[in-house]
């Protein structure tokens, strides 16, 4: 479903803690601040997006609240304050929502959150029939090219000495050896959230350890670059969203994710937008290089494993009583599908 709710909240959704949030906005924006509209735009596996319109002394502010729930999927890996910090540090050549402030106090909205200014446009649910139609059409035209060109620009950000440099030193090891870092992180995720034996995932972890490609570049990585994480305007992409998995590392991982099977379920089009060949051709045109096939294969399996880890963490957090969120329970029943996709990728690669 193509969603336009990011531009026009029209009511007060009762599930949003309006009173508590209104008090918070009065503290931040002044005693005259009043919430005049608030709707839930999306409910993700670890966080929710609320569209909130606030009037202050006759001026309307169209805002977005990104609230992180306790016990959501991979909550340990999705630090909201870090996400806020990244958004604030992305250089102006990449359009992102302007972040205003971060609130760590979970009492205000049922979890920590940050507030952004709303960006007009359309956020597409890629796997819905309407979303697929829209994306196939967009992908064939200039929006498709811009989608890939923006990724090339993200990978060209001069991070050394810049505000995003902190991303390079968050983990042990070197960002020039991103494969080693990510495999270690995935082994940790599998061990932490495993609730039953996982022969496929253990197989995949070992395959990754034995098939690490030479890293061709070290750049800013978005970490979840796909057609559902941008805001489409009429004739341009207005913003890139969801930077919570950003890091410094191997840019082939972004391309492998964009091209990967979880982002083209039942479709030949990468991100439901365009053929693999066109993605690689456009990337090469705008970035001046293209990752090796061996590298793309490695990162596709790593990203599949990461995705499976998301599902596993939701299941584990539910079983441990850290959440009662039924959407996470629902995903746990699709774990066999994820394991099969990992197995398919492993067998194709072997």
């Amino acid at each position: 479903m193509a969603s336009d709710t990011r531009t026009e909240p029209a009511r007060l959704d009762r599930e949003i803690p309006i009173e508590s949030l209104a008090g918070h906005f009065r503290e931040r924006l002044g005693a005259g601040a009043e919430i005049v509209a608030a709707t839930i735009a999306s409910e993700g596996m670890s966080d929710d997006t609320w569209m909130v319109d606030v009037e202050v002394d006759g001026t309307r502010h169209e805002l977005v609240v990104r609230r992180y729930r306790t016990g959501g999927a991979l909550r340990e890996e999705t630090d909201p304050e870090r996400h806020f910090r990244i958004l604030a540090a992305v250089p102006p050549e990449i359009a992102v929502p302007e972040v205003l402030w971060y609130e760590a106090d979970g009492e205000v909205a049922g979890g920590p959150f940050f507030v952004m200014r709303r960006v007009p446009g359309r956020v597409v649910v890629p796997w819905s029939p309407e979303g697929r139609r829209y994306l196939a059409e967009a992908g064939a035209g200039p929006l498709g090219e811009e989608f890939i060109e923006i990724l090339a620009r993200i990978h060209a950000i001069e991070w050394r000495g810049g505000q995003l440099a902190f991303l390079a030193d968050e983990e042990a090891g070197s960002p020039d050896d991103d494969g080693t870092r990510r495999v270690a992180a995935m082994r940790d995720v599998v061990e932490r959230y495993q609730v039953e034996p996982e022969p496929v995932l253990v197989d995949a972890l070992n395959w990754l350890e034995h098939n690490k490609p030479a890293q061709q570049r070290t750049t800013v990585i978005h970490g979840d670059y796909r057609s559902g994480n941008v805001i489409f305007g009429e004739d341009r992409i207005n913003a890139v969203l969801d930077w919570e998995f950003a890091r410094i590392g191997d840019p082939a991982s972004d391309l492998a994710w964009l091209l990967g099977r979880t982002n083209r379920m039942g479709s030949d089009l990468a991100c439901y937008m365009m053929e693999r060949e066109r993605v690689l051709e456009l990337y090469e045109r705008h970035a001046g290089w293209v990752p090796s096939e061996e590298s793309l294969r490695f990162w596709e399996i790593q990203k599949l494993l990461f995705n499976t880890g998301l599902w596993m963490s939701g299941e584990a957090n539910y079983l441990r009583g850290e959440t009662d969120d039924l959407t996470l329970v629902r995903w746990s029943y699709t774990l066999p599908n994820m394991r099969r996709m990992v197995l398919d990728a492993l067998e194709e690669a072997s």
């Binding site: 959704d13 009762r14 599930e15 709707t39 839930i40 409910e43 039953e196 034996p197 996982e198 022969p199 496929v200 253990v202 197989d203 070992n206 395959w207 350890e209 034995h210 039924l326 959407t327 329970v329 629902r330 029943y333 066999p336 599908n337 394991r339 099969r340 197995l343 492993l346 067998e347 072997s350």
Partner: protein
């Protein structure tokens, strides 16, 4: 008494056709859609009963005895762990517990194959484990396996 398969089917149909269209709240619709997805999955499991687990154990147990032999020389400790899992599967009264022991045997075999064996022996062993684990996954998804 109404058979659980039929009760589940009717609950799902009523929720989907009568309740879902009447829910105005965004959050309520999200939760109800998730609940319907869970009921779909659970209904499939109720209908299939323990048959998938029984079939997996019947396939994996003799295979795992073979993995134990294949690892005996190069990875005796892992071979012993596989044998322990086989023993657990044989002793388990519950097919679900027996299946879990077999998946643990598969996991230990995979870990040992990558750590201790070289191609082509490693690839042969991994190929067989993958084939049988895939059959189990298909059964979990509701297929024949």
């Amino acid at each position: 008494m109404i058979p659980p398969e039929r009760a589940l089917r009717d609950v799902r149909a009523s929720l989907r056709e009568q309740v879902l269209p009447a829910v105005g709240s965004t959050h309520g619709r999200t939760i109800l859609a998730a609940a319907l997805g869970i009921l779909d999955a659970v209904a499939g499991q109720v209908e299939r009963g323990s048959a998938p687990a029984v079939a997996t154990v019947a396939e994996l147990l003799p295979a795992a005895r073979g993995w134990e032999r294949a690892l005996a020389e190069a990875a005796p400790r892992s071979a012993a762990l596989v044998a322990v899992e086989c023993g657990k599967a044989e002793a388990a009264a519950d097919p679900g517990a027996a299946r879990e022991a077999m998946l643990a045997a598969a996991e230990r075999t995979v870990e040992a194959a990558w750590a201790e064996l070289e191609p082509p022996r490693r690839d042969e062993l991994l190929g067989e484990v993958r084939r049988l684990v895939r059959a189990d996954i298909e059964r979990q998804r509701g297929g024949e396996g």
